[in-house]
Amino acid sequence: METIQNKAEGPVSDELTLVRAAKQGDDSAFEELVRRYDRNVFRIAQHITQNREDAEDVVQEAFLKAYSNLAKFQEQSKFYTWLVRIAVNEALMKLRRKKPERTVSLDEDIKTEDDSLPREIADWSPNPEQQYTQAELREILSKTIQGLPPGFRTVFVLRDVEGLSTEETAAALELSVPAVKSRLLRARLQLRERLGRFFQKRESGDGNQ
């Protein structure tokens, strides 16, 4: 399988030049960093919060926090990974405020048994996404990922949607690499199982008259 491309654009060295200029007080350099990563941060925030207004707030708060803490950024990781960590924390805080009855953390809902094979294994139609309009498909994907615990969907969005490496995801979430892998497997399998409801081959009436 092809290596998944990182959706964040631009060479790292160029990123560091912008970060250093921003640290020296060059706001246009910081604005360029906003321009470069705002779409990624918004996507991550909306995946976690599942709410557009909250995602907009997270984008603003994450960039402002990055701006005000720029002097503390040690340049030992990529700026983008550091920014993602800030954004994920802001997004999880939003969730906690909305659901105070349930503690929302990256460690929750990890108690499922290891290595249990999914029970219902029905194959999907070829190109199943083409059975739906773009709007219908987005609705299905959004509803499906909403059903996942926040800790699972956070790992999934960073790793599989944004294309961060396992190590970068672990650094951004302050988790170990095995913990990221374990959550990623469960997230992928749960999404697969849930999407199956929409994408499974029909038993009959599928073409042959």
Binding site: I4, L64, R138, S142, R188
Partner: protein
């Protein structure tokens, strides 16, 4: 390789970070175990569908508005410190 072992290696296999020996064993397993073949194939499709979905794209007008709000707040912070934002 047993089905549980296949599942344990699935993420490494899909991410292309699996050693050659395990890869051969896994692909051999997939050649006769239809259930695991389907799980592997549909999990791969799940990832691709999400990756290509353009779910939660930031509309250009909202993007401009957010960027402008961010930069205004940053400038307030710079002038008046943390209390201002």
């Amino acid at each position: 390789m047993k089905c549980s072992e296949f599942l344990h290696e699935l993420t490494n296999y899909l991410d292309g970070v699996i050693d050659q020996q395990t890869k051969v064993e896994l692909e051999n397993h997939l050649s006769w175990c239809h259930n695991c073949y389907v799980v592997c194939d549909t999990t791969k499709k799940t990832i691709e569908i999400y990756r290509d979905s353009q779910l939660y794209e930031l509309p250009e007008d909202l993007r401009t508005r957010l960027r402008s709000a961010i930069m205004t707040k940053c400038q307030q912070y710079k002038k008046r410190g943390p209390e201002s934002v």
